[in-house]
Amino acid sequence: MNLWLIPILPFAGFLINGLFGRRMAKPLINLFAVGSVALSFAWAVTVLLRLNPLETKYVEHYFTWIQSGSLNIGVDFAVDRLTAVMLMVVTGVGFLIHVYSIGYMAEDPGYYRFFSYLNLFMFFMLVLVLAQNFLLLFVGWEGVGLCSYLLIGFFLLEQFATNAGNKAFIVNRIGDFGFSLAIFLIFRQFGSLDFTRVFDAAKGMPNEASAGILTAICLLLLVGATGKSAQIPLYVWLPDAMAGPTPVSALIHAATMVTAGVYMTARSAALFTHSPIAMDTVAVIGLATAFLAATIGLAQTDIKKVFAYSTVSQLGYMFLGVGVGAFSAGIFHLMTHAFFKALLFLGAGAVIHGLHGEQDLRQMGGLYKHMRITAITLLCASLAISGFPFTSGFFSKDAILVAAYARAPWMYWIGVLTAGMTAFYVFRAWFLAFTGEYRGHAHPHESPLVMTGPLMLLAALSLGGGFINVPHWLEPMFAEKGENQMLAWLSAAVGLIGIAIAYIFYVAKPGLADSFARSVGGLYRLVYNKYFVDEVYNAAIVQPVVKGSRVFLWRGVDAGLIDGAVNGVGIRSRGIGGVLRLLQSGNIRSYAAWVVLGSVIVLLAIGLAGGAR
């Protein structure tokens, strides 16, 4: 079925644009960049149609990559129903965002560089999704991390952008460290990294009531997932990642890459379901992240930061779903989130584009008159993320919350509260941007069709995506969870209340928000400054590491010990040489005398040692 074509097409686009893009005309760059992703999407659709109904996994083996002792790792791609969902999301949403980027990046001097990175990202993401063993997945995992770094730091003349890129890369290393340890443990335990063999072996193992090898593996996998998917405690890189161009925020830092952790956890469901401790940890981390990120999102003034914290929060929801055993609900939310969050970011990008780079919500307002399509599509996305009845978010979020209620009611209530806050901050952003009077100084204008087209398509998906019954489609892999209409309507109602409060605060009675913020001044400052987490990390981890490196490792070990040893050897050699060179008198007869003396000594030594035999 030639699955390899799906990732290799964007890779070809990357090579062509990366090598020759500098001298190519923009239409040609567009052709290769967008065309390759379109072909990749088309081929993925073809493959899935031919493989339908895909009851069992379809595997293709290409070649053996590493063969050493009992370690045997092949380059294998596989498609099952979970991969199918991911393939559609990655290539479909990826294609729309590529199209949008044509308009958004039109004026940028690094045009070809942007598209070649974007194509490279698509390649690695598809490898990640298609991989049939942990190591190949890790290749994709690291590759998307690299592309994320390159694209966050895309504006490489801006100090803050390169800093944000470094931060993302370094924080991700911590997660990847855990992930690679997990891979080692898996190999040690199962003797293979192949998904089928590992998971079949794991299914035969008993549930671990207390911590055991599977729990250790799962917790280490979770460390990897918290890095890539921006969960507590490693979420700090994602808000800073907004320094990259907005299509990048939409594609990598909202729709696809950051969901890799959720995908990986769902993929390893056979391991996680045998370790209740790890499952509970996943659920609690997800819930805590969802709640905390939502509270931070309440007070942000940068439109992209609002959506960034919203992404962290929604990823928390997915982890909550996965952690309470509702894997299909988590993947469902992953898909709908890809639709509406990509739309939110692209819409924000259209606003920023229309305002010539202005990102501060306080400098917007009244934009509905100027950019109607953007406003309406963003409204669709906001309704979807708020869980408005019958939009996509309504179905997926409630599937998660219902499953959480079955696990523990208190998780449900915190989740519902978070849903209310989500609705509030998203609509706060919408009201601040599109209603009232314009407060900025630019001349707002609507974006071209190449940008609004993807917006409209994504708006349709955000509204109607909930009717794609992903949990049913994933039924052969993950058991479906029961439904509970009452709980679903309750959380939708809380979402509506959140919207209503946002309306009162920012439309009906503007000024109420400020006085409210003043009345809870300390709390507001705490939230506005993101709980000072960055500052705490800086003081507790970054500074000690930097100081330790500088004082101990650099001055002490490197300059003192290593340089000292090397220089010491040099100085001693010169001292000894200075003495020895006096022998080199230039007088040939003294040399001759030394030769004779030497041979006499050798003969004497041989004689003293007992002769030649």
């Binding site: 060179r581 006096l582 080199q584 008198s585 230039g586 007088n587 040939i588 007869r589 001759a592 005398a593 004779v596």
Partner: protein, 103 residues
């Protein structure tokens, strides 16, 4: 074999020749003489090789002495060439005056 010259005589002669060579090598100042002393030492060793080879009835000593002769011939060729060049450049064959190759 009874009337043959005993091995020890050859070795004593070889040792005397070698000693003379060493002495000449160290004490003489003319490069040519030093050079001849080296040849003397080589041939003293050759003598003991041949003597051992003859009494032990083994061919190894002969082979060694041929090697030594080849080396000595090559050395004479190269050495004399060097000496000629030195003499052309310095107008001297006094070994103590050729001492610029030092630290």
């Amino acid at each position: 074999m009874q009337n043959a010259v005993p091995l020890s005589w050859y070795l004593i002669l070889s040792a005397i020749l070698f000693g003379l060579g060493v002495a000449g090598f160290i004490y003489r100042r003319n490069i040519i003489t030093v050079f001849m002393s080296i040849e003397l030492m080589l041939n003293a060793v050759n003598l003991s090789f041949i003597a051992f080879s003859y009494t032990q009835r083994q061919i190894d000593g002969h082979i060694f002495s041929f090697f030594v002769m080849v080396v000595a011939a090559a050395e004479a060729a190269v050495g004399l060439a060097i000496i000629l060049t030195v003499f052309k450049n310095r107008d001297t064959l006094m070994i103590d005056e050729i001492s610029s190759m030092k630290y």
